[in-house]
């Protein structure tokens, strides 16, 4: 995986998901200023959520860290939940762009392809595991706007797993009668749970990947076609 995945500034500027940012660039210094503020806030927030957690970080701290006023944070973002949501969306855009490129070339059994896919996830999040914990925690935030997509409500991960499993069915490795939806949910739950090990056991990426491998093995026992 290329290391420039971690350079957020460049990405923010060309993120197609934020057309307003693109429009900003086109219309004068005031808009450029606004975009600069936005980027600084996102960068500060990424740092603070990763070190202090989601609940432990206040908007005031984010503003101070970014060197902007609290007021200007609020002209760009409606809430802390929205800030985190944007931080994660930009990160995950990069992760999924990479996965879109790589996953079609994965070889091996269905279980192994799932293992590789999740191993890429862990490798990507390696340096920001606590940020990912924030991402999960935010899913339960009372103030989260309904437009945001916290962990568990992102469709892309779900689609990607479904595709691998569907390929498995086509290859005769996955029981066509298996409840694929339940498999997807179990895999996502296992993936999320594995991040706990960072906090409880101080697990590194190697440990997390190994744990996920075992969990996938166990779930794979449940989708293997019945030997006739």
């Amino acid at each position: 995986m290329p290391t420039d995945l971690e350079s957020p500034r460049r990405h923010v500027a060309r993120n197609p998901r934020h057309p307003s940012a693109a429009a900003d660039r086109a219309s004068g210094p005031r808009q450029t200023q606004k975009e600069a503020t936005r980027n600084r806030v996102l960068e500060a927030a990424r740092e603070l959520f990763d070190t202090q957690g989601y609940q432990g970080t206040t908007i005031r701290e984010i503003a101070r860290h970014a060197g902007v006023s609290v007021g200007s944070v609020f002209t760009t973002f409606a809430s802390k939940g929205e800030i985190l949501s944007q931080v994660m969306e930009e990160r995950l855009d990069r992760l999924y762009a990479e996965l879109d490129r790589v996953v079609p070339h994965l070889r091996g059994s269905t279980a192994d392809r799932l293992r590789s896919m999740f191993a890429i996830h862990f490798a990507f999040e390696a340096r920001r595991t606590r940020l990912f914990l924030s991402h999960i925690a935010a899913a339960y935030d009372w103030t989260l706007p309904s437009s945001t997509k916290p962990f568990g409500r992102t469709q892309r991960l779900r689609d990607m797993i479904s595709d691998v499993l569907a390929q498995g069915v086509a290859d005769g490795e996955v029981d066509p009668a298996a409840d694929l939806q339940a498999m997807v949910e179990l895999l996502i739950a296992a993936y999320g749970w594995t991040y706990h090990l960072v906090v409880t056991d101080g697990a590194d990426v190697k440990v997390m990947t190994a744990t996920m491998d075992r969990q996938i093995g166990l779930i794979a026992d449940g989708f293997r076609p019945r030997s006739s």
Partner: protein
């Protein structure tokens, strides 16, 4: 200091008459806990402040702090009361099953039924469980570990009855079953899944997670 939950107050007075002062203290604690339960449910863990809780209980913040060291202490107390009650209803439900799958399903369903009427509080608990400091404390709480132990117990019984193989990887499998059980709460919290829907999803999950452990 021993924490006394409002549920236990009645039982304890019967055994040993507490002093008037101890009784007053228990009543204060009970009032704080009731108010806290409501505010955590309405505003979440982060949104509820000690000041608001004190106001809702009709007392000063000083009086709250005389009984609880901080907000997380207060929340832990509520959680541990609920978890104990939850563990009990799961323990009652499990033996009614006819197989490992069924015992686990009955346990999980008892859990969903228990929380169905207080999903906002469950939501607050999930939020806390992912926080860097309070999360591990909550997850490692004895009452939570007891729930996990009950799953281990069911799998062990399954092996004894010959339903599951000796190499059932009980530890990992129990953890995954517990996690699967928990993973359905967001559907209940955010998408209003019925008890039946939760039960049916849990049934599928249990079947998948036990598939590799079955004998023969």
């Amino acid at each position: 200091m021993k924490h006394i939950s409002p549920n236990q107050v009645a039982g304890q007075t019967a055994v040993k008459m507490p002093t008037r002062r101890a009784l007053a203290k228990q009543q204060t604690r009970a009032k704080v806990l009731t108010a806290a339960r409501r505010l955590f449910s309405e505003h979440g863990y982060e949104g509820a402040t000690i000041r608001d809780i004190a106001a809702a209980a009709g007392m000063s913040t000083g009086a709250v702090f005389a009984n609880f060291s901080d907000k997380s202490d207060l929340f832990r107390e509520i959680m541990s009361d609920d978890m104990s009650a939850l563990a009990e209803s799961m323990r009652d439900a499990a033996p009614r099953g006819r197989s490992v799958d069924d015992c686990l399903l009955k346990m999980f369903t008892a859990g969903y039924a228990f929380y169905k009427s207080q999903l906002p509080l469950a939501r607050a608990a999930f939020s806390v469980s992912w926080a860097p400091q309070d999360g591990p404390v909550l997850r490692n709480a004895t009452q939570v570990q007891v729930l996990l132990e009950q799953i281990v117990e069911q799998l062990t019984l399954g092996i004894e009855r010959g339903e599951l193989s000796q190499e059932a990887e009980i530890k990992l499998r129990s953890q995954m079953l517990f996690d699967a059980y928990l993973s359905n709460y967001p559907q209940a919290i955010f998408e209003g899944w019925s008890l039946d829907a939760l039960q049916s999803r849990a049934r599928d999950q249990i079947r998948i997670l036990l598939a590799g452990a079955r004998r023969g």
